[in-house]
Amino acid sequence: MSGVGRRAALGWALAAAATSAAGCTPSRTAPIGAGGQGPSVRTAPYVPFDVTWMIRPAHGRKYLGAALPGVRVTPGVLDAWAGKAGKAPNLLSYRLSWGDGFPAGETLAVWRRRMLPYLVWDPWKPTLRAIAEGRADAYVRRTALTVRDLNVPLAVSFAQEMNGDWYPWGVRKTAPEEFVGAWRRVHDLFQDTGVSNVIWVWSPTVAGPAASARLRSYYPGDAYVDWLGLVGYYTGTGPHTFDTLFAPVIRKARAFTRNPVLVAGTAAASGARKPAEIRDLLRAVTTRRDVVGFVWSDLDKETDWRIDSSPEALAAFRRGVADPHFGFDVRHP
């Protein structure tokens, strides 16, 4: 073979090898099966956020939660509250009315500020019976897809205070079976959609005589619930200690579950007892191993529930949450 022939053959061989290598190299738009992801853009995460460690934080660490009025993630609002409390919260509670679009942007902003988003999902319409029967499946699936694709941890409290009588989903208008059916329906649809980044918070109220009477009948089951999210307030006329306000319901609940407790909504009415009640709450949350934290409803509604309703109350709060167990970094186990 002449020199020219050899060079040509070598050139062809190199071209063939390069073409082969290029053909074997997968590209993103190649078909699934040929190393690519196909023509459509993937929205689901490859690896979901693992929330299992957040359910029971290691080393006795506690959530310092807050429910603030208005636009919660406005930097000024949060920073002002953190400045007053002496520590930034690591859990932020906000509400979503049934039928509204999931606040993906706000949830992401909450998470980026190193707080666990805590969503109170209020099923104003339709009824829990309708949800249990599957008449809102499309909305639930749509919401689940958004939550899955967002891929940040999220605590969801569906139909909070179901054992009270002041909401449409309360004891007056809704049977326990309907509540359980709706809860399981929503939960299962989330799981069927591939959502595993949600912490499910079953959130009864501790107020009223009916609170603990039929508690068990409202419980969907341990496979459906991660936290016992108790809602109770230190009011002017009610119990004044954790042991009298929350402990009776916890004792009742311990008959059917050993899931951790989050005080999912609490505050103390303004008054002389408020500093003591704050100290009692923070002491109980700090010392009880089965309580993972609390959410302070910092609102001025009916009465002044805010932490700074008085200098003494604020000082008690600041001193209590200064405990290093509160306010850990939720982005790292």
Binding site: S20, G23, P31, G33, V47, P48, S196, D222, A223
Partner: protein
Amino acid sequence: MTSGHGPVTAAEGLVPVAEGLGAVAEGPGPGAEGPGPGTEGAVAGFGGRAYRGDGPYDPESTLRLRVLPARGRPEPAPGYTFDEITRADWALGPVPDTGWSAAPGARRTWVSRALLACLLLVQAMLSLRLHNTAFEDEALYVYAGHAMIDHLFHGTPDYGGFGTYFSGSPVLYPVLAAWVDSVGGLTAVRLMSLGFMLAATGLLYSFTRMLFNERTALCAAGIFAVSQSTLFLGNFATYDALAILLLALSAWILVRVVRVIRVVQGVQGVQGAKVTRGIRLARGHWALPLAAAPVAALAVGVKYASALYLPTVTILLVLAAHRRLGGRQALRLGAVFTGGVVVLLGIGLATTDYLQAIRSTTTDRAHGTTSVPAMAWDCFRWGGLLFALACLGTVLYTRRERLGEVPGRRAPAGPGTRWRLVLGAVLTGTALLAPAYQIHLQTSVSLHKHIGYGLLFAAPMAGVGLTRLVGAHFRFPQAAIAVGVLALTLGMSQSAQNYGIWPSTTYLMPELAKNVRPGQKWLGQPHEAPVYYLSREGLTDYTLWTSIYYIDYTGRQGRHLMGAEGYRAAIDDGWFDGVVLDWSDQPGDVQALIRGEMRTSGRYRLAGALSYRTSVGTGHFEIWLRVPAAHGR
């Protein structure tokens, strides 16, 4: 060329160009040499016929270049005139009838082999283009092979019972695959499959060339090389590639053997006053087909379903022998081969306990529920083109034997019509065996792979069909281009789709590796890929995993619970440390039962849901972990 011949062309005008091109391209015809003696050679190369400017069309020619006749006496151009140099000792050599020969030649062989190498390169590239993690069968065979190596060479008990449900012997391919895996991982095992499929294509080319000719063999190899089953199996670590290679090797040996048998003409008998002469084989040559018997038996051992194709291989031997040796010797050779294979398979069955597995996976396989039209459509998509070409080839080959375009050539002893019909029907009909059996069972499991076995045998006739479509002298190259583009497009798209049909475990394995600890008991679907990948890291082994197909759980009361009861009891007792589920749009009953039981028992929590997309849909893997004691009831 015509201008190069100067005066001849200018003077004679009309030239059958196609044959002239053939003369230049195909052989050392004198027409390629230019002026001088070559000029005359070129004229002779056109069939030795003198030009008749206004005569009828010659039936042997295929293309004519019309040139207007010159008016008046043609004057040679001054620059083209020359004096012919003659020498006293110069003599024109013998001039062939045609410019090229139908007989085999070194140049033709090397050109064909070079084209075959290009085809193999394309096949390799298209196979290596496929990407996915281990399919459950691949993972199963490789880790079963490791278990068998431990069992055979290190005395470790065989807990898997692989011999009872594998569709091939667990001590053949799985052991080979495990050995290769220990050297180079799954990639090496898949590369081994690629080697098997490339070799199968090469053997297909070779025995098709022996049966027909190079052009047909190249067409057959090309159409087979780009079919989806070939591309898929070329990057798939299961029995199939090796089984197809062994079947191709059997066919090649048998066709080859017929060519090397030496024949002795002898007196066969005397009938009255007439002496009949017959064919006798050289001493011992009757046993030559036995060379293929171990290969064929090994193919059956590697994959039991390969036995379905042994009749085709045997008939191929008989037909090939019949053409050269006559019917009696052909049947004799066929009987020898069949006897050899039967004896070897009998020994294999007598010395192993694979009969139950053969029944459950092959002969008495469970019926499925896939609809017949759906399966027929799949078969049509995956093998329809090659099968249609094979049918066309069979019909056209039966009508006319001639495969080359050498003018005036007639094969002295070409095969008869019945022989051609039987050969075409048998080879083409073989493509229907696997589809027909699976349609009968209404199970589409692995149909896209099994269809490739039959396509191997139908490919030679498809090569004939494609050759005939193109026509003599490549008269209709657009036909080859159209068929080639269609075959390539279908093969590429279908192989990619079938290769992406199972979900990738790229992200599942690291998540599992975080949770699986040595000694933990897991329930899983899929469990083969986790066992394969995680056992490589020393995190688990196959004895610690329970599949969704079989459970024998000893409950708290000491009862053996199986099936749904076993799964329920084991989950209620929290017996498994973790569970992996593949939750697609259409989960099976057992998956739904397991998931429902985990929800009601409250012993497990969903730790992670990893979404995936396949070429046919979406779904997600679920990792369920047993909740810690503090969470339990």
